[in-house]
């Protein structure tokens, strides 16, 4: 089973220092990068499958040249290889460019399944996975809570979360699966994993390596722009209640009534 996980390095939300640069684009230098949370679930699912069925997991990222630092963390979790598409032209790419570049890069790899996360914590559009599937003509199995490939039959079954439970989807491989947290908690890298990751290979590819011309992608042709950014109005001061439960409860009810919630 060969699985490619589309993995984006994103600013660490927990670090709390995200900001826009003077060009109104995300200032990626301001905050340390981490593996996008939803991509960790995708990676965990990929690792469990290859542990059970044999095979290898390849990470595919389109990111700045500093991305290998972040990719090492995913390699430490157990991914086998990394492929990084990086090019100064790609700075400021929108999702259309990102989708094109990832699809072009994926085309150069061999795989049975490609995994994407449900969305990214920085852009959060949740459109890159479905877009890559469309460009490559891959079956799209999204919002996966369980992934069951049948190598012999060359097919994959996915439980897709639905508003009332789940649907069972089936398609031939290769296919693209959009992964959710319901697949299970990502592991922490072990010390052994961290050591092993140091010697794992991360291949760097330029735009021309994946067959994309610089005119069709990147910030210069981005289809979206930020016009303004403002801080949301601060919330009013917090009211603190330290009373026995029954008195506190009356205070809460009075508070809700005053706000016309009840």
């Amino acid at each position: 089973m060969r699985i490619v996980v589309l993995m984006k390095p994103v600013p660490d939300t927990a670090a709390g220092g995200e900001r826009l640069g003077p060009d109104m684009r995300l200032d990626r230098a301001a905050v340390p990068a981490v593996v996008n949370a939803n991509d960790e679930y995708a990676l965990e699912a990929a690792l469990k499958l290859t542990e059970a069925l044999g095979g290898e997991v390849t990470l595919l990222s389109m990111a700045p040249a500093s991305a290998p630092d972040t990719m090492r963390k995913a390699l430490a979790m157990g991914a086998h290889h990394g492929v990084l598409v990086t090019d100064p032209v790609l700075e400021g790419s929108d999702t259309v460019s990102t989708t094109r570049v990832l699809a072009a890069a994926l085309k150069t790899l061999e795989y049975d399944l490609a995994f994407a996360g449900a969305d990214t914590s920085d852009g959060g559009a949740g459109v890159v996975g479905p877009g890559v599937a469309a460009l490559l003509g891959l079956p799209l199995l999204s919002y996966a809570a369980k992934i069951e490939p049948d190598e012999a039959a060359g097919r994959v079954r996915v439980r897709r979360l639905s508003p009332t439970g789940y649907d069972v989807l089936e398609a031939p491989m290769p296919a693209l699966v959009v992964c959710t947290q319901a697949l299970g908690e990502p592991r922490y890298p072990s010390l052994k994993g961290i050591m092993a990751a140091r010697s794992k290979e991360i291949v760097t590819r330029s735009l021309s390596d994946v067959g994309v011309t610089p005119e069709e992608v990147g910030g210069a042709v981005a289809g979206t722009k930020v016009l303004e950014a403002t801080s949301p109005p601060a919330r009013a001061a917090t009211e603190v209640v330290r009373e026995p439960a029954d008195v506190a409860a009356e205070r809460v009810v009075a508070f809700l009534a005053a706000r016309r919630i009840i």
Binding site: T13, A14, R19, L20, Y41, T95, V96, A103, A118, G123, G124, A125, G126, V127, V128, G129, P130, G131, A133, A134, L135, G137, P139, L140, L141, S142, L161, S162, T164, G165, Y166, L169, E170, A171, P172, Q181, E185, A222, G223, T224, K225, L227, A229, T230, S231, P232, R235, A236, T238, V240, V241, R242, A245, D246, A248, E250, V252, F255, L256, I261
Partner: protein, 324 residues
């Protein structure tokens, strides 16, 4: 038909609630901009959803596409809309930012090469194009965004607007598409209903959420009872979901759902940043926590310092006594 198209989503045979909100916003946009707004619904039986969408928009096209019966719909729907969009030339496509809308938007964007502005919390019009309000960086910043060219796709978050039908209903036209869709089909082998999965927490006016402090599946009874007394629904943190106390459909936060209720009541929740991003735009936030220094105390409107197993039942009792 140039202008703005609202892609109506089918849920349970009818129109998805999110589409009524998107349609309401789009109609307002059309009025400001002086552009036509149309709806489009693609499905095996699109008529019912199309009729519902026509309560909000002057004109709706119902496209019957038998292929969506028994197959995952988003890709097929997107392919049909892409074909129609190429012919009739709308400038902007609007969808809901839920799973179905995102899948459809992603395929549409790739097929048409149109950019996406995602997760709109509001829409406006400026300099001959739409502007899209977004909340980014976990709510630390609000941005106003626009397309650089003339065309684009917008996905709209749940609760960005309250659905409001138009003064008079629009008309529904039926259309049947030409040719077969080209992208591969994904078969729906089975549809399974699961208890607890149908948690419409994004739509609720009141969310009572439980965290690790709730201590277990049994502890969620206290949460449930308070939610019932308030006419609300139950939410949860990832800690509670990962522990298996409650279904993932209830999770609020970065990797769960984003809610914007009138009241968010947190029981035994610390208010970690990844949870905060999913609920901080609630109008009123009330927390019950043993720890007065929990992060949630920094952004709640009211904090009760105490044991949730004493305070929550007391609030439930007080509410019941009040409604008598």
């Amino acid at each position: 038909m140039p202008g703005i198209w609202v892609v109506g989503e089918i849920a349970d045979g009818g129109l998805a609630r999110i589409s009524t909100e998107v349609a309401t916003l789009a109609r307002g946009l059309g009025e400001t901009a002086g552009h036509d707004v149309s709806g489009i619904v693609v499905g095996a039986q699109p008529k019912k959803a199309a009729d519902e969408l026509a309560r909000f928009l002057p004109r709706v096209v119902a496209v019957s596409e038998p292929a969506t019966d028994g197959n995952a719909a988003a890709t097929i729907v997107a392919e049909r809309i892409a074909a129609l969009a190429r012919n009739s030339g709308p400038d902007y496509l609007l969808l809901g930012a839920g799973p179905e809308g995102r899948d459809t938007a992603g395929v549409l964007s790739a097929m048409l090469g149109w950019p996406v502005l995602a997760n709109a919390t509001g829409l406006g019009w400026r300099d001959d194009g739409p502007t899209v309000e977004m909340s980014v960086f976990g709510g630390k910043l609000n941005t106003t965004n626009a397309f650089t060219g003339g065309r684009g796709i917008i996905t709209v978050r749940p609760n960005a607007a309250a659905a409001e039908p138009a003064a008079s209903p629009g008309k529904v036209e039926e259309a049947s598409p030409n040719g077969e869709p080209q992208l591969p089909r994904v078969t729906v082998v089975d549809s399974v209903a699961e208890p607890g999965a149908a948690a419409p927490i994004e739509e609720a006016r009141v969310v009572v959420a439980g965290g690790r402090g709730v201590g277990g599946e049994d502890g969620f009874k206290v949460v449930q009872e308070l939610a019932e007394a308030l006419g609300g629904v139950v939410g949860a943190t990832r800690a509670a979901v990962d522990a298996g106390w409650i279904n993932y459909a209830h999770q609020i936060g970065q990797t769960g759902k984003i809610v914007k209720p009138q009241l968010y009541l947190a029981l035994g929740i610390s208010g970690a940043i990844q949870h905060k991003v999913g609920m901080q735009t609630a109008e009123t936030i009330v927390a019950v926590n043993r720890d007065p220094d929990a992060p949630i105390a920094e952004f709640a409107d009211l904090v009760v310092v105490g044991d949730l197993f004493e305070v929550a039942p007391a609030i439930t009792a007080a509410l019941r006594a009040r409604s008598g």
